[in-house]
Every structure is written in structure tokens, then in C-alpha cells.
């Protein structure tokens, strides 16, 4: 209505606010980590913190650096997938803490079809069954929410534990007789290894496969789906206001289940892309679901719930997680990295408050300006009015 366009402060931009908030969370998280290290042993605390921040930069040889950079990238791939799973579900208002279980289901399906002598399937087939397993788990969670009104956080946790025990039991069929670990893909079924297409040479690290590239593409696709498509429009409307979605005829239950199916598939695909690269084996005596799914939550929120932001934040979280192993283990433990990432998630809960604080300051500033302008205008017009 007013022809005067208010010049809006750049600080109003939601993206910039998210970025600032995320950086603040990271800095505060690292600072708290540093304090804890100080408490444990003041002498090495700074070095340990720097070891976490530096990760592979600590190596002097370029080759070793590249190799370890490759390792971090290879481990970032599943993390990014888990965070995509979490943020996708969050768009319809669901907190997918079950990503960890869906990830585990992916491991279970991929490895049993890759390693069991009755199957010995190629990598793409194993990946597909992994995706299906995660999708089914997601569907259970979604259906329980849609039709039985079960809180997804609680059902997700229950399914995490059920999946863990199931996976340990099933994968014991393909484990190494001498250890609790599953057999190595390289020695049993090389066709189940994801191809590297030259990336192996580039990074001088056989762990780096096309997974790294695939997950980037998937992140972009998710971004496009959420931002540009009718499906994204519906999902966000459903997440934002379930009642309005129903009112305008969206099938809200179908959307909830479908979202959880996709979320489950994403997390499980991450597991497939990681375990089928032959980087690690599954320990069948594992007493908790892998932390990958939970770290995915940290990544999703740290990335401002944006798939492109998640690319950056997943790399960061993996960077510090891998580096946890580089602290002086004579004094500290590698879990300091987990501690820092969980501190970062905790701080992410304050992002809303932080943004509100910025906006409030901006509001006040603008109001002051407006009042000044009004005062100025009224004194100028004062004579004319009389």
C-alpha cells in the first residue's frame, strides 16, 4: 500500500541469521569442549582442541593429508544421508530420532545380501534392499503416528532397539568365526563393493567411492523437492499446519507416512553407501545403535534444516568426530567429539531464541528511526496544519 519501500536490513535475511546462529553454536560448543578438556588435564587441553579442529591438517605430508581427507569424506556420506533423513521428516513436523534404527536396518539388509553364501548380490541390489528395509521401518513409524497417534520420538527409539537386537542376531550368520565382526566384503564378495570410478586414485584411499558424489546429488535433489515442487509445498503445509492441510484436501496421513518412508530410505541408503564401500564391518556384539543417526540430528539443525546447509554441517561434524581419535588418548578419550557435537545440538535448540533476539533488536532500531522520522515530519508540517 505504501509506495515507500522500507529498506530492510541484511540481518533480516533468514539465511544469514541461520548462518550466524550456527557459527555461534559451533564456537560455543568447541569452547565448552575446551573447558571440559581443561578440567581433565589443563596441560594438553589446547593441543587436544586444536587436534579436533585440525583433523587431517595435522599431517605434514600432502599425500597423507589427502588420504585422511578422503576418509573423512567417505564417513561424511552416511552422515549427510542421516541428516537429510532427519530434516526431511522435520519438514512435516516429525522428529525422526529413528534415523539411527533405519540406518541400522540398512546395514543389516545390505550386509546379509552381500555376504550370505545364498545371495552374494552385487552392490546396487544390496543397496536397494537396504533402502527398502529403511523405508519399511520408516513406514511403521509413520503409520503409528498417522493412525494411532503414537509420538514418533518414542516409537522411533523403541524401533531403534528392536532393530539393533534383530541386526546383531541376523548378522551373526555372516560373521567372522574368530571375531564379533562381519566378514570382510573384499574377501567374500567384491561385486558388492561400490565402484570408485577413479576417486580411489585421486584420494589415494580405497575407501573413497562414488558414494561421496551420490550423496551430494541426493542432497541437491532433496533441496529441489522441498523448495520447488508440489510435493514439497504439500509436505511443508502438512508440517506447518496439519489442520489446514486436511481442510484443503491434502491427504495428511498419506503425506506423513510417505515422508517417513522417504526419511527411512534416506538413512538406510546412507548405511548401504557406507558399509558397501568396505570401510568398516559390523560388530554383532554392539550394545547401542550407531551414533550416525543421532549425529544426523545435530547436522540437520546445525545446517538450519536446509539440505544445502546440511552438506556443510555434515562435513563439519564428521570432521570433528573423526578427529576425536587424534587427541592424546593417554589422557583424553575420543568421545570428546561426541560430547562437542551433542553440546552443539543442545545449543541449536536456542537458535529460535537467538533469531528472535536479533529481530527484536532490529525492530526496536526501526521503531526508533520511524519515531524520529515521524517527529521530524510533524515539526516540519506543524506550520502548514495550523
Amino acid at each position: 500500500m505504501s509506495p515507500l519501500k522500507k529498506r530492510r536490513s541484511v540481518l533480516r535475511s533468514d539465511g544469514l541469521q541461520t548462518l550466524i546462529s550456527s557459527l555461534l553454536c559451533i564456537i560455543l560448543g568447541l569452547a565448552v569442549g575446551y573447558l571440559v578438556l581443561l578440567l581433565i588435564n589443563a596441560a594438553g587441553a589446547w593441543d587436544a582442541t586444536m587436534a579436533i579442529v585440525k583433523n587431517f591438517f595435522k599431517f605434514t605430508k600432502a599425500e597423507t593429508r589427502m588420504k585422511n581427507f578422503g576418509l573423512t569424506l567417505a564417513k561424511t556420506a552416511p552422515l549427510l544421508m542421516c541428516s537429510l533423513s532427519v530434516l526431511f521428516a522435520y519438514k512435516v513436523g516429525l522428529f525422526n530420532i529413528g534415523a539411527a534404527g533405519q540406518y541400522t536396518a540398512g546395514v543389516c539388509a545390505a550386509l546379509i545380501f552381500a555376504l550370505h553364501p545364498n545371495f552374494l548380490w552385487p552392490w546396487w541390489a544390496c543397496l536397494l534392499v537396504a533402502v527398502a528395509a529403511g523405508a519399511i521401518l520408516g513406514a511403521i513409524c509413520g503409520a503409528l503416528r498417522a493412525y494411532c497417534n503414537v509420538n514418533v520420538v518414542i516409537s522411533g527409539i523403541m524401533l531403534n532397539w528392536i532393530t539393533l537386537y534383530l541386526t546383531n542376531w541376523v548378522l551373526a550368520w555372516v560373521k567372522n568365526p574368530a571375531s564379533p565382526y562381519t566378514k570382510e566384503l573384499r574377501s567374500v564378495n567384491t561385486s558388492a563393493l561400490i565402484p570408485s570410478m577413479g576417486l580411489e586414485k585421486f584420494f589415494n584411499n580405497k575407501n573413497v567411492t562414488i558414494s561421496v558424489v551420490l550423496v551430494l546429488l541426493i542432497a541437491v535433489v532433496i533441496w529441489i523437492i522441498l523448495k520447488k515442487t508440489k510435493f514439497g509445498y504439500e509436505l511443508k503445509a502438512t508440517g506447518n499446519n496439519l489442520h489446514a492441510a486436511k481442510y484443503c484436501g491434502m491427504k495428511e496421513n498419506r503425506n506423513i507416512i510417505l515422508t517417513m518412508v522417504i526419511a527411512g530410505a534416506l538413512a538406510a541408503a546412507g548405511a548401504g553407501l557406507f558399509y558397501l564401500a568396505g570401510i568398516e564391518e559390523w560388530s554383532t556384539t554392539q550394545s547401542a545403535v550407531p551414533g550416525m543417526g543421532f549425529n544426523g540430528i545435530a547436522v540437520a539443525f546445525l545446517g538450519g534444516l536446509n539440505p544445502l546447509g546440511a552438506i556443510l554441517s555434515s562435513y563439519f561434524i564428521q570432521h570433528i568426530t573423526t578427529a576425536g581419535g587424534y587427541v592424546n588418548l593417554q589422557v583424553y578419550s575420543a568421545q570428546i567429539s561426541d560430547f562437542i557435537s551433542s553440546m552443539i545440538i543442545y545449543l541449536c535448540a536456542f537458535v529460535g531464541f537467538f533469531k528472535m533476539f536479533i529481530n527484536l533488536r532490529l525492530d526496536k532500531g526501526e521503531e526508533r528511526k520511524a519515531r524520529k522520522a515521524a517527529l521530524l515530519a510533524s515539526t516540519e508540517e506543524g506550520g502548514a496544519d495550523e
Partner: protein, 314 residues
């Protein structure tokens, strides 16, 4: 059979304590997803008290200080939720999830650091051992091992019932979870009541944590957290419809299923069925999922739970 009874009761005691904690938080209007983490920290506090206090002081001192230490640890850790959810109106689910991760990672870092320092680098495990101290918590009646924590749980149940329904505090607390604007309009400080609810859940969660890690075992690896018991307790709370007495009933049922996992090898009938151990491990989680599926539709959760109260918006 006595073993099954004993395990049922002790697991029921854990679930009861923690679920009551959850109910206090939710009746005040705050969803406490972080109970799992509170249990871990409570367990840590209790285990440290148990293992550090000189055994010469005798049973009474050790029992009392362990209970106090775990309750205090839970209470302090629950402040993470209270500050974020009540003062900063943060998302309670994210906060709770972060607390769960923070508790496991933090206690692992702390215990490892202590073990490393104490052993000069040869012991880097995340375990605290309390085999000698544990005996003070237990009294044998024939084959049945009575634990003082069972009594603590029963006392907590009675007190919780009275506080919730017979006192001014309980009435005000429940009003804050149902209709905080109404409570505010009659001069009740909603923030204070919510703090009270969350802190009580911290105390009870902490007690539940120490009870849990002293059942059957005499050392605890903190890497493992409390294997989802905090979440089972939330399921118990929902199944128990946020009511102390019904929660107690639900806790016994869930406790039984959990106990089966521990003792199924000792019961000839179950041994004969030849069901793999994994199934018994999964059982409590499967049961809770089914129970939730049938009870969540008509849940009578406190109406305002999970919604931050903002004085400015009344």
C-alpha cells in the same frame, strides 16, 4: 521363579521412579524426552558416591549418600532442560535429545578421564565398579534379594500420589500443564511451577538411574547409557495415563517383560521353547510399541504440554 519376581520388582521400581518423574514434568507442561540422559547422570552421581566413599563409614552412610548424590546429579542435569524450555522457550524435543547424547558422551569422557588418571593410562575403560559397596543395598530374605531401592520406589509412589492430588502444590502444578494462562490469571507463577516439575523429574530420573545400574550387575560401562530405559519409562507414563497409581501398574507389566530377558535361561519352561535370546531382548520394546499403538489414540496428556509459556502472549 523368585528370581523372575525379584527382577520384575526391581525393573518395575526403575520404570516407576522415572515414569513418575516424567509425569511431574508433563503435568507442569514440559515434555521431558531427556529422562534417559537424566538417568545416566543420576547413575553417574550415585556410582561415584558409591565407589569413592570410604567403605569403612558403613552401610548407612553409603546408602544415604548414594541416594542423595544420584538425586542431586539428576536434579542438576535437569536444569539443562528447565533453562532451555522454560526461560528460552526452546524446542523441548531437540533439547531432550541433546541431553540424552550429552549425558552419555559426557559421562563416558568423565569416567574415562578418571580411570585413565587413576591407573596412569593403563585403564581407559568407561566402567565404574562398586561390587563391595553394592552389598549394603541388598538384604536377603531366603532366595529373594530385597533392595532398598524397591522401598525408595514405593515411597516415591505414595508421596507422588499425595503431592499430585492432595496438596496445593499438586493442584497448581497440574493447572500449569493444562491451562497455564488460567494459572497465571490467578497469580500462580507458571515458570516457577514448571521449574518445580522439571526438577522433580530430575530427582526421580536420577534415582531411577542409580537403581537401574545396580540391578544384577556390580559395575557399569557408561558408554552404554541406560539402554533406552528412559524411553521405556515414557511409554509406561503414557500407558499409565499420567496417573501415579496407573503408572505403577504399567511399570509392573513392563518390568515383567524386561525381567524375562534377564532370567529366561533360568526358567525351564522358557528354556524348552528355544526362543533366541534376541527375542527376549526385544520384547519390552515390542510390547511398549504395541501398547502405545493401542493407547495413544485416546491419550489424556496434559493439554499444554510441550508448548512454551510466553507471558507476553496471554
Amino acid at each position: 521363579m523368585i528370581l523372575l519376581l525379584q527382577y520384575t520388582i526391581i525393573f518395575a521400581a526403575v520404570l516407576l521412579l522415572v515414569a513418575l518423574g516424567g509425569a511431574f514434568a508433563e503435568h507442569s507442561g514440559v515434555i521431558n524426552i531427556g529422562l534417559e540422559g537424566i538417568m545416566v547422570i543420576g547413575a553417574l552421581g550415585g556410582a561415584l558416591a558409591m565407589s569413592k566413599i570410604n567403605i569403612e563409614y558403613g552401610g548407612f552412610v553409603i546408602v544415604v549418600s548414594t541416594i542423595v548424590a544420584s538425586a542431586a546429579a539428576g536434579l542438576i542435569f535437569s536444569l539443562f532442560l528447565a533453562v532451555a524450555a522454560i526461560n528460552f522457550k526452546a524446542d523441548q524435543t531437540i533439547t531432550g535429545t541433546a541431553m540424552n547424547m550429552l549425558a552419555t558422551a559426557g559421562s563416558t569422557v568423565a569416567v574415562k578421564a578418571m580411570n585413565t588418571a587413576a591407573s596412569g593410562g593403563s585403564d581407559v575403560s568407561s566402567a565404574i565398579r562398586y561390587i563391595n559397596q553394592k552389598q549394603f543395598f541388598i538384604h536377603r530374605f531366603g532366595d529373594f534379594e530385597f533392595s532398598w531401592f524397591m522401598l525408595v520406589a514405593v515411597i516415591a509412589l505414595v508421596v507422588a500420589y499425595i503431592v499430585m492430588y492432595k496438596t496445593r502444590f499438586g493442584l497448581r502444578l497440574r493447572a500449569c500443564g493444562e491451562h497455564p494462562q488460567a494459572a497465571d490469571s490467578v497469580g500462580i507463577n507458571v515458570y516457577k511451577m514448571r521449574y518445580a516439575g522439571v526438577l522433580i523429574s530430575g530427582v526421580l530420573g536420577g534415582l531411577g538411574g542409580i537403581t537401574f545400574i545396580t540391578t544384577g550387575v556390580s559395575e557399569w560401562k557408561f558408554e552404554n547409557g541406560v539402554v533406552g530405559f528412559g524411553f521405556l519409562a515414557l511409554a509406561v507414563m503414557i500407558f499409565g495415563a499420567w496417573d501415579p497409581l496407573r503408572i505403577a501398574g504399567a511399570a509392573v507389566i513392563f518390568g515383567l517383560f524386561r525381567a524375562l530377558g534377564n532370567v529366561h535361561t533360568g526358567i525351564p519352561l522358557l528354556e524348552h521353547l528355544g526362543i533366541p535370546g534376541a527375542v527376549y531382548n526385544m520384547l519390552p520394546y515390542i510390547v511398549s510399541l504395541l501398547v502405545l499403538a493401542f493407547t495413544s489414540k485416546r491419550s489424556r496428556a496434559p493439554k499444554a504440554e510441550g508448548i512454551p509459556y510466553d507471558k507476553g502472549l496471554r
